[in-house]
């Protein structure tokens, strides 16, 4: 078990309110990711982080911001939630690249967000 905890697991909010989702890891991995999962779209990368205070945008970053002030926590913020952001959000981590040159992603259990 990679020790990834997402919170909250379920949240219902109203349009226009701010929302923060938290991803916490216990194994000091460098790379962390936020994906959203929607029917017909699979998983789409929102933002990722390659170290404390080092983040970059993914495919669907508009309307989202992230922060990583310490290795173990990666926060995803919706500044003003919209109904189109209703989704299941997954956090993932990966270890540093080994001799093979590629990592494996390990996922959290997901956070289901409903924006009314």
């Amino acid at each position: 078990d990679a020790g990834i905890t997402q919170s909250p697991r379920h949240k219902v909010t109203e349009t226009g309110t701010p929302v923060t989702l938290r991803c916490h890891q216990t194994e000091n991995h460098r790379y962390m990711y936020w994906y959203r999962q929607d029917p017909g779209h699979g998983l789409r990368l929102i933002h990722y982080s390659y170290g404390v205070k080092d983040t970059d945008k993914g495919e669907v970053s508009d309307g989202y911001s992230v922060s990583r002030s310490k290795t173990e926590d990666f926060l995803l913020t919706l500044e003003s939630a919209t109904s189109s952001q209703t989704s299941v959000y997954f956090c993932a981590i990966s270890t540093d690249r080994g001799a093979s040159g590629a990592n494996v992603l390990t996922f959290g259990a997901g956070s289901r967000l409903t924006v009314l």
Partner: protein, 113 residues
């Protein structure tokens, strides 16, 4: 930029029958390929991965996949499925020099009794 196409959104199959879930990718550089499985109301778990070497990769639960560079495919197979294999399966790709993983849209495998 890489991309992944999973050609079938749903695949129904009877128990103990063989199954193949298709995945094609697009990339101008060498790739690393993965299959993940998602059981209902759970996160994704790694099923198998191709990094280099043998093009036939074996994973957990009796699944295997074959990397075909000329056809840019990485199809997932199982010779005999069980009811417990009912889940959604995702193909994913990444490349050396990037930390972005691109996922396909998923294939729902439904195993029928």
């Amino acid at each position: 930029a890489q991309s992944v196409t999973q050609l079938d959104s749903q695949v129904p199959v009877f128990e103990e029958a063989p199954v193949e879930l298709r995945c094609n990718y697009s990339s101008s550089v060498s790739v690393y390929l993965f299959w993940y499985v998602q059981y209902p109301n759970q996160g994704l778990q790694l099923l198998l991965k191709y990094l280099s070497g043998s093009t036939l990769v074996k994973g957990i639960n009796g699944f295997e996949a074959e990397f075909n560079k000329s056809q840019t495919s990485f199809h997932l197979r199982k010779p005999s499925v069980h009811i417990s294999d009912t889940a959604e399966y995702f193909c994913a790709v990444t490349t050396s020099g990037t930390y972005k993983y691109i996922f396909g849209t998923g294939t729902r495998l439904k195993v029928l009794a």
